[in-house]
């Protein structure tokens, strides 16, 4: 927008830049603080730090609950994404491509887990698991399967959202073109539709993994001894002491998620899908 002489637009641009910088600062300040404190040498977090150290990373490595928690979280997140993404993708296909009674309701229901607080959903699941255990006479609530089933609930809304978006942007003429060239409906799906949906599915898998990997509130009631996820292990640690060991663990966690996003972005342009 041109307002009078050249001085004003430049002032406007300067203001815009400042606002953008501020927004980024607000977004990244907590992350930055965690990464910084993980290197502070003092046990009680203070500013400025008396010195820098790797000690907290070594400390974290020495604590078996963090390593075990990391492995459990990794397992659960991979399994949850592996189970949830195909279900969510199938649901997204049904929502976008077919018409059935109650479609709106089903679509809302699939996104509902996003709206329910994790602790509430977790308690609900806990009670449901107890009930199911009594009926089926087998362990559910402290098992990996039980935890994975709960985390699948986290992955489905994300998958549905992302895949629905990618399906809506898909040029259906390409599918007609394939049929026109002699491809049967199944071949069209396998050779044309699925590859064109790939960015959405890849993004869905990544977000599903992250959702599960970082989840605390839903998991807290459902984990069992020896099967504690990393965020729960961190909370447990926090109950007894506060020191930068947690910051070190969190930094590693942030690093993993960050690397995952960068790698995914190389395959699909995330900003275009999400």
């Amino acid at each position: 927008m041109f307002v009078g002489m050249t001085g004003r637009p430049q002032l406007g641009r300067g203001l815009l830049r400042t606002a953008v910088a501020l927004a980024y600062l607000v977004i990244f300040a907590p992350v930055l603080m965690i990464v910084l404190t993980s290197f502070f040498s003092q046990q009680i977090i203070s500013f400025p730090p008396p010195g820098l150290t790797w000690h907290w990373y070594v400390n974290a490595w020495d604590k078996p609950e963090f390593l075990r928690g990391f492995v459990t979280s990794l397992q659960v997140a991979l399994l949850a994404a592996f189970v949830g993404v195909p279900i969510g993708t199938a649901a997204a296909l049904a929502i976008v491509r077919s018409d059935f009674p109650g479609k709106q309701a089903v679509s809302a229901l699939l996104l509902a887990p996003l709206a329910v607080p994790g602790v509430v959903a977790g308690s609900g699941l806990f009670m449901f698991y107890v009930l199911a255990e009594n009926l089926l006479d087998r362990d559910i609530k402290a098992t990996t399967q039980g935890l994975v089933a709960a985390h699948v609930l986290l992955t489905i809304p994300w998958t549905v959202r992302l895949v629905v978006a990618s399906l809506q942007g898909l040029d259906r003429a390409a599918e007609e073109a394939a049929a026109n060239l002699g491809a049967s409906p199944l071949t069209v799906f396998r050779r044309i539709t699925l590859p064109m949906m790939r960015p959405g599915i890849v993004a869905a898998a990544m977000f599903s993994f992250i959702q599960s990997f970082e989840n605390l509130d839903l998991s807290i009631l459902l984990v069992g001894p020896g099967r504690i996820t990393l965020p729960v292990a961190m909370l447990n640690y926090l109950e007894f002491r506060i020191d930068p060991t947690l910051a070190a663990v969190a930094t590693v966690q942030i690093l993993i998620v960050g690397v995952l996003m960068v790698v995914t972005d190389r395959f699909v342009n995330l900003s275009r899908v999400v």
């Binding site: 390409a174 007609e176 073109a177 049929a179 060239l181 002699g182 590859p195």
Partner: protein, 353 residues
């Protein structure tokens, strides 16, 4: 190549009639264009021929064989889509080869046919590119090659030029027409662009509201339109509503009395006088039978357009732009002029609501 027959084809969407009792036959090697405004049913017709849409009633025949219930993937038509609909995850060569793959051709034979097809559209050097790495014109040629390589029974074009810029469009128009004639392709072309239809088609079908208005060669439709809608749709036209007063006199609604040839009308319910702007000649000064005043002169480069008011009626006249020293070149608004046309130039047609 096959011939195409369409018999009493009807498509109803809910309560609206998209295509209404359409009959049409396209001979082997012929290019027929479906021309009409958007919503006239031309694309719906094409989609029913391709098999993407089941007709409500009626039949589609390839070589006199009923294919109405055959799914699209068994019809063996080659279609070029308006958006080109290339497969974004496949290279140009893979796109072209897809149809051959579906026909279970061996890799060697496939490669040689893909090579030929790409050569036909002069894209051999870009075989390995993905669609997004190609320009619009190049994508369009890949789509052409992809449709032709399978040796289709029928060549279907859905607004194939609408996404190209004006200059490229006229080139590609000529190119597609040449290819179609050389390969003897039975072709159905859907377009809303009259110039495209007139220049490319052997015959034209003008459609409106799901119905055929007129079928004929470009010249027949341009020179002998059956109604005012066709007259106006296939080219610019002065259409003056009114009524016939005698064998040779026509009175417009605005009160203007015009002389017409007795043969100018074959229709009994003619109530409009239709005259193409380029069939009128114009000369400065009030000395002819039909006199009026210039309202506007618009310079269009090769041609100049004159708006002339005669009584209550406005005529549009299009002439080749006069040289600077010709008297016509000095014409300006409010100047008196006289108009003239050959007695056989105007048509009396029924007006259409």
């Amino acid at each position: 190549m096959a011939s195409l027959g369409i018999e009493k084809l009807t498509k109803r969407f809910g309560t609206s009639l998209a295509v209404d009792d359409l009959d049409l036959s396209v001979n082997e090697g012929e290019l027929v264009a479906l021309l009409g405004p958007s919503g006239c049913g031309k694309t719906t017709t094409l989609r029913m021929v391709a098999g993407f849409l089941p007709p409500t009633s009626g039949r589609v025949l390839f070589d006199n064989e009923d294919v109405t219930s055959l799914p699209a993937y068994k019809r063996s038509t080659g279609m070029v889509f308006q958006s080109y609909a290339l497969f974004p995850h496949m290279t140009a060569a893979q796109n072209v080869g897809f149809g051959l793959e579906m026909r279970n051709l061996g890799a060697a034979e496939r490669d040689s046919k893909v090579g030929e097809a790409l050569k036909l559209v002069r894209l051999s050097h870009l075989a390995g590119r993905l669609p997004r790495e190609l320009s619009g014109g190049q994508q369009q040629r890949v789509a052409l090659a992809r449709a032709l390589v399978i040796n289709p029974k029928l060549f279907l074009l859905d607004e194939p030029l609408s996404n190209l810029d004006a200059k490229l469009r006229s080139e590609v128009r000529i190119e597609i027409r040449a290819l179609q004639q050389r390969l003897g392709l039975t072709t159905l072309l859907v377009t809303h662009d009259r110039e495209e239809a007139l220049t490319m088609a052997d015959r034209l079908v003008v459609m409106e509201g799901g119905k055929v208005r007129q079928i004929g060669t470009p010249r027949e439709l341009y020179d002998e339109p059956q109604d005012a809608f066709v007259a106006d749709f296939v080219g610019r036209c002065n259409i003056l509503p009114g009524r016939r007063e005698s064998e040779s006199r026509f009175r417009t609604v605005g009160g203007l009395l015009l002389t017409v040839d007795t043969a100018a009308n074959e229709s009994n319910n003619a109530n409009a006088f239709a005259l193409r702007p380029e069939r009128i000649s114009i000369s400065p000064g009030a000395n002819g039978e039909t006199q009026g005043r210039v309202e506007a002169v618009t310079y269009l480069g090769a041609q100049t357009e004159y708006h002339v008011r005669i009584g209550n009626e406005l005529f549009v006249v299009v002439r080749p732009t006069p040289g600077a020293s010709e008297p016509l070149a000095a014409l300006k608004p409010q100047d008196p002029v006289s108009l003239q046309w050959e007695p056989k130039a105007p048509r009396l047609v029924p007006q259409t609501s």
